[in-house]
């Protein structure tokens, strides 16, 4: 569990260099060509969804399929926005994703701090309890969890959508690992200066762990945004749906409705842009978070 520093070392040369030759470096060209092909294959579904979202229905169903954007983007996006109640869906998803991410980080940081910096009865028990949550994903406790949330009166509430997802073994382990790498002298110095435990956590540890916090935030935000099973179960009103659930409503299940694929794709684009944008903008943190939080 201690490889991250090495893992994140700058790229090294993997293939031994041949003696430099004049002319076009065909090997490099070939690698670039292959990589561009991979990127194109991976990007194609998104491009296709975007193209469909800009067409009118006649263009959507035409043969051969039209693979170029058309001019109906604005009307499609407005109509999909209106028909799915997108504003509310996006706000709900943002609230849930941010609450889950911040909540997990906060309670994990506190638990890890207690485990590393205090000696108390039951510390080992607490550690194992948190560890065991790894083995209890939602499906293995689904009915009773639903019942608990119902008894608390949390169906169709933000509390119900986010709090049951908050325990986090991986975040707790990450903070624990990080605190263990901090030299003892820092805590000693803080104590000599008269700083209490909470002061030490807030003014010393927190500023030192911003990189970890940012990395975890990105990963947990994506997790919260994309969770499907849980919001599907505990919400049944239009106002409380998150966007990944609400999107399904745009798909007609009866044979009589004409499927408005351009609107469905416009809805899909709006649901996927926020998490993808977070990854692209924060990609450095994201890769760090992925790799370290899974150790």
């Amino acid at each position: 569990m201690s490889a991250p520093a090495r893992v994140l070392a700058p790229p090294q040369v993997m293939v031994a260099e041949r003696a430099p030759r004049r002319g076009i470096p065909w090997g490099t060209v070939l690698v670039h060509a292959a990589l561009v092909a991979c990127v194109a294959v991976i990007a194609f579904p998104l491009y296709f969804a975007f193209v469909i979202s800009t067409q009118d229905l006649a263009q959507v169903v035409q043969k051969p399929p039209r693979l170029l954007p058309s001019s109906h983007a604005i009307e499609n996006y407005l109509e999909a926005w209106r028909r799915s109640g997108m504003a509310r869906l996006l706000v709900n998803s943002a609230i849930v994703a941010i609450t889950v991410a911040v909540g997990k980080i906060a309670i994990s940081m506190m638990s890890a701090f207690a485990i590393v910096y205090f000696r108390f009865r039951g510390a080992t028990l607490v550690f194992w309890m948190i560890f065991l949550t790894l083995m209890l994903p939602i499906p293995v406790r689904i009915l009773p969890t639903y019942e608990v949330v119902g008894n608390l009166g949390w169906l169709n509430t933000y509390a119900g959508l986010s709090i049951p997802l908050m325990a986090s073994a991986t975040a707790t382990f990450l903070f624990r690992q990080f605190y263990m790498t901090i030299p003892n002298e820092l805590a000693e110095a803080a104590q000599i200066d008269g700083a209490g435990a909470l002061r030490f956590l807030w003014s010393f540890l927190l500023p030192l762990s911003w990189a970890n916090v940012a990395a975890l935030f990105v990963v947990l935000f994506i997790y919260g945004w994309n969770e499907y099973f849980w919001p599907l179960l505990i919400t049944n009103t239009e106002e409380m749906r998150t966007v990944v659930i609400g999107l399904e409503r745009l798909i007609p299940r009866t044979g009589t409705e004409l499927p408005t694929w351009n609107l469905i794709m416009a809805g899909a684009m709006m649901a996927l842009v926020p998490p993808v944008a977070v990854i692209v903008v924060m990609q450095r943190w994201f890769v760090k978070g992925l790799i370290e939080s899974e150790k």
Binding site: A16, I107, Y228, L232
Partner: protein, 293 residues
């Protein structure tokens, strides 16, 4: 090493209280209740639970539909794992060259991880659409076979596997790239000196040295496909056509929340608990070896 500790009798308990509360109320209590319910039969419209012992499990194990869902789960999880891990390895080896723009390629390959499997499924649903989809259209020039996922189970399964793999690929690439960069340059140079070509280097050096990462990713992708890919099934195929894409988690949901067969649903939860415990143990058993790459 002795660590500096802070004094305090109550404070540590206050600090762990929120996490412990969530753990007990939403994890251990419900998991225990799942175990309890799995040996009872609960009348769906109220009344007392009736103890039935292992009847719920016996009923499941003699139910052909349940077997089908187990097989579907392994086909689905296996398909996602093979496609996204093998694909991720090949792309990573390509990207791990001394070339410009590595950062760009990594982001350009990684971003689909942000897309929910359900949303990815909806996009692939249209790509696979029997009447308007671009894929059946392209294939119609090659073969007369009708690629209709609404009618043919294996095509529906392919659809959900491809859509889920698409979102997972970037995750695997991130890990493989990190692992590949930890392979010492000297080893690769030595192989070059000995006259190993690119393919020989791949099979004789890269694959063995990266195997701890590969193993880790296989377990993580299996767990993901088993437990977190419910959305793609629910949003796209609804388990169909027939039961062709009904994976264990989908059947659990359907039996519990649509069929209101609480005892059977709880028994299915307990079986899934055994699966996830097995997979997690496997992962941690090999965790020590993982750091040697």
């Amino acid at each position: 090493m002795k660590r500096t500790v802070f004094p305090g009798r109550i404070l540590p308990y206050l600090l762990v209280a929120p996490q412990v509360a969530v753990t007990i109320v939403f994890f251990f209590w419900p998991a225990g209740k799942s175990l309890y319910l799995s040996v009872f039969k609960s009348p769906p419209f109220g009344g007392r639970d009736i103890f039935v012992g292992i009847d719920n499990f016996v009923a499941l194990l003699s139910d052909g539909d349940y077997y089908a869902s187990v097989v579907n789960s392994f086909v689905f999880a296996g398909g996602v794992t093979v496609l996204s891990v093998a694909g991720g390895l090949v792309v990573s080896v390509l990207a791990n060259q001394k070339i410009r723009g590595l950062g760009f390629y990594r982001t350009a390959l990684l971003w689909p991880y942000g897309i929910a499997p359900a949303v990815a499924g909806i996009i692939f649903l249209f790509i696979f659409h029997p009447a308007y989809g671009v894929l059946p259209y392209a294939l119609s020039f090659v073969t007369a076979y009708e690629f209709n996922w609404l009618l043919k189970g294996w095509i529906a399964m392919t659809l959900v596997i491809v859509a889920t793999s698409w979102t997972q690929l970037g995750y695997n690439i991130a890990f493989f790239l990190a692992g590949l960069q930890a392979i010492p340059t000297s080893v690769m140079e030595a192989a070059s000196v000995d006259g190993a070509g690119p393919i020989r280097k791949f099979t004789a050096i890269i694959v063995p040295m990266i195997s701890p990462v590969t193993f880790y990713l296989v377990v993580v992708n299996m767990v993901f496909a088993f437990f977190s890919a419910f959305g793609v099934i629910h949003a796209v195929t609804q388990g169909g056509p027939g039961n062709a894409t009904t994976i264990m988690v989908f059947k659990l949901w359907k039996d519990g929340f649509i069929g209101l067969n609480l005892g059977s649903s709880a028994a299915q939860s307990v079986i899934l608990m055994a699966v996830v415990i097995g997979m997690t143990m496997l992962q941690f058993r090999f965790a020590e070896k993982r750091v040697t790459y």
